[in-house]
């Protein structure tokens, strides 16, 4: 097969993402009280996203490997630009403007970090040595700090997770993991008291007792649970959710769009949605297992697990299993930069999963 005539394309991922994001447009239409301009804008981003995904997947994995240092430097620079010039919104600097586009600068780091670490670790002997673990952890921690101080604790944790996944997949010893978990548990009171802001403490406290202050801190989670719960098995119907349409539910277009789906399409709708997500993740696992080399395996594993973590945190938050953190529902929530970076991420996954070596090394 000629290298230049082959199109690198994964129909499973492509069509499931297409279905997901098309559904997403309908959900968004309902969540925005029928405002078509938002849906129109989102569909343009989707079109752009698919183009980026297709384009990205044509690149050879080696390209990403060779440019991984450049990529991470670029990401960090972008964070620096955000810190220096980014507008302050709700007390946080997370956005950077490039011409007419606004971009959430931490999105890139979510991809750059796992690729960089995969590149760093893919040719190391098993089991990986303490020195390599140490260097990896320092890089992960630095990336975490860069994002967390915006402040954006949620995305910071996701960035850290993306690195930790790669480190774990590359063969981090179990005893080390056990020790780390122990230290984490022991230090949690310290983290709670000194590192967390009062509003973050409140969000966690609210999780365990949302009824304590239903109109204050517990409002979002209470209304979200009411929206989902009142959807029942079959839902209230498209555009018929009173919680959504009468604005009792907060942030319907972004973080809480899952509650809109739950309210208007019920348990069956939720089941269908989760099935599509689960299918995408299973396909990613398959691609990771059958990828051509260790670097590709690590990148696919790292990026798809980061995607999963992102998704699960959003789901757990809106159903009341985790504290409220700003985290969109992938492919469905409104937002250009998160969509673009998602498509970019899946472009990388498809690239890594579909490029095969013609000859064994």
């Amino acid at each position: 097969m000629n290298k230049f005539t082959k199109i690198y394309f994964d129909p499973y991922l492509f069509f499931s993402i297409l279905i997901l994001s098309t559904f997403g447009l309908f959900f968004l239409y309902s969540a925005s009280n029928g405002e078509t301009s938002i849906v129109f804008k989102q569909s343009i981003y989707l079109g752009l996203g698919f183009a980026i995904m297709l384009l990205t997947s044509q690149a050879d994995p080696d390209l990403f490997r060779r440019t991984s240092l450049l990529f991470i430097i670029l990401s960090v620079l972008l964070l620096g630009v955000t810190f220096l010039f980014g507008p302050e919104i709700n007390g946080a600097q997370r956005w950077v403007r490039i011409g007419p586009f606004s971009f959430q600068s931490s999105e890139l780091l979510k991809l750059a970090l796992p690729i960089f670490l995969a590149n760093f670790l893919f040719n190391k002997k098993l089991p990986i040595q303490s020195k390599e673990i140490f260097i990896s952890l320092v890089i992960i921690f630095a990336a975490f700090l860069l994002v967390a101080r915006q402040p954006d604790l949620g995305t910071g944790l996701i960035v850290a997770l993306s690195g930790i996944f790669v480190l774990f997949l590359s063969g981090l010893s179990w005893s080390f993991i056990g020790g780390a978990v122990a230290i984490l548990i022991i230090s949690s009171p310290f983290v709670w008291n000194t590192l967390l802001q009062p509003f973050q403490q409140q969000r966690i406290a609210t999780l365990f007792n949302p009824g304590a202050d239903p109109f204050g801190a517990g409002w979002n989670i209470t209304q979200s649970k009411i929206a989902i719960g009142s959807g029942g098995i079959f839902g209230k119907g498209f555009g018929e959710g009173s919680q959504t349409q009468l604005n009792f539910l907060p942030e319907t277009k972004t973080d809480f769009i899952f509650s809109v789906i739950g309210e208007e399409f019920g348990f069956l709708g939720v089941l269908l949605l989760l099935s599509i997500y689960f299918f995408i993740l299973m396909r990613c696992l398959y691609l990771a297992l059958s990828a051509r080399d260790r670097f590709c395996r690590l990148v696919i594993g790292g990026i798809s697990l980061t995607f999963a973590a992102n998704l699960i945190i959003n789901l757990c938050m809106v159903v009341g299993l985790l504290p409220v953190v700003g985290m969109p529902l992938p492919f469905i929530s409104k937002g250009g930069s998160s969509l673009i970076s998602l498509f970019f991420a899946f472009g990388i996954i498809i690239s890594m999963g579909t490029h095969k070596k013609l000859l064994p090394q």
């Binding site: 649970k225 297992l289 697990l305």
Partner: protein, 612 residues
Amino acid sequence: MIFEERQLEKKNFSSRAVFLFVLVGVSFLAVLLQVFALQVSSYTSYELAALNNKNYSVPIQPLRGEILDRNGDVIVRNQPTFDLITQPDLIDNPERFIKLIKPVIYLSAKEEAQYLKKFKEKAFVNKELVLKKNLTSEEIARFNVRSFGFKNAFIDKRYRRLSDYPKIFSHVMGYTSRSDNQYDLSMDIPRSHWVDAELIYANGLIQGKTGIEETYNQHLSGQHGKRIYEINSRGRLVQPLEYRPATKGLDLYTNLDIQAQISAARSLGNRKGAVVAIDLRSGGINVLYSAPSYSINKLSNGMSVEEFESLISDPKKPFFNRASQGRYPPASTIKPAIGMFGLTNKLVNWIDEVDDPGYFTLPENGRIYRGWKEGGHRNVNLKKAILVSSNTYFFKLAYRSDMIDLSQYLSSFGFGDRVCGDCYDEDGAFLPTPDWKYSNLNVPWFTGDTVNIGVGQGYLVATPLQLANYISIIANRGKVLIPLIVKEDQAIFKIEAPKDIALSSQNWSKMHDALTGVIESDYGTARSIRDLKNFQVAGKSGTAELVSLDSKEAYLEIRDTELLRDHSIIVAFGPMPNPQYAVSVVIENGESGGAVAGPVAIEVLKSLLNNE
């Protein structure tokens, strides 16, 4: 890397990746379980919570029932007035709106300020706001001509609670006023929504505060209606969803008689006192009047602070309901009961005579108890003793009576306890017993105390209502009916039915005969009212002493102070020999019972008989 190493690495990666993806699967399952718990297991409670979020229910005020007299004439009604109501969400600039509407309706500075103060909040939530209450007919006409220019305002009917006899029925009807906690919680409307109630009364959510309005508030108030709106999260009304009209309260049919009540008020004039009349056939209260009085209309619909203060501080105590709360010594009006006690216990009969020298000496200590007539009535039997109101006869009888038995006997006539079935805040007044005196005053009961009871003085006090109840039991030959303001089929009974009083029918006839003689015979103490009517009346007058004095001269001295003058009392029933009505009259500081209170009683009886 060599091949084996690569195989090892691949295996290592696979197991770890599968491990992590299993964790992902477990998380998915956890989310799914939680969603299941919310949407399937707890569906009903969340469905309800969502409904409570979006549905804003407001109560609709019902119209209160009217209150009618025994002939079906209206005593208290609902008077429609017209208010100018605005829709603030349709008004962009309230100041300009007021400027526009000022030539049409008169607005005081206070009304204007009130309106502007409430405007913003009401506009935000899309609710109505009253600009001006009680429009005059010119204002209504002017507005109607220009109403096309005011799409954001309209005139609506609002009621006021009104009586056409505001001062005549004040105490018995009572007044209504804005309620403090008039929530009907059975309505399934949250407490906080009641401020948005759709009103039918200009005074808002009202409830009876005193009198019939209070006692029968449940009957009168009716059932609230309900309107459910859909609201959004900011509390703005989006659209109406459901409407259930209010049900008007029950009209209340009373035993009161407007004409008789008016005649009682007219004959009392500006004197302090009370009149109570009872229908002997039903126990229905036809008249319950206390003077001086006040206007319930003003009290229900707004009275100036100055006027209220002056009523409160008036030494004549107009708010005090003398008819059911005033405590007066029954004086000589108690004598028939004492006589009947003597007959029942075989202490006296109608024949045996007693010498009345004008006073009674208590054997124990020689203390002298005087009659009202110097020199006494000489030989008196029971009938004569009642006719001429001989104190000595009843001193002697009481002296021979056991106070515990006597107290029990008097209580069967309703003394010392509430007698009315549905009166508001009735006072039971006081009937003494030896036990009471010993435990409260730390002194034993003396026979002298019983002697005083014999002529209705001393510790015994009764309300005009109790006196009317007492005389109607006598008029009905011992049959006890519970006095009721409201006709029996609607009535509330706050007390239990007491036992009838047993006495031979011969004795009852003789007692009626004696009491008729008090007014109709040449010797009767109340014969001065004999010619005021063309039917026969039985009764007993009394003069309640406020100060215990030994001689007439001493009384003439204190008489200068009006408030120390004797109270004038009469209890009467008629027409004889088949009485239909009983009446009691007390006139404070009116002195001689028969001559002062008597004519009032006759006027009321005449009015009741004319109005059947």
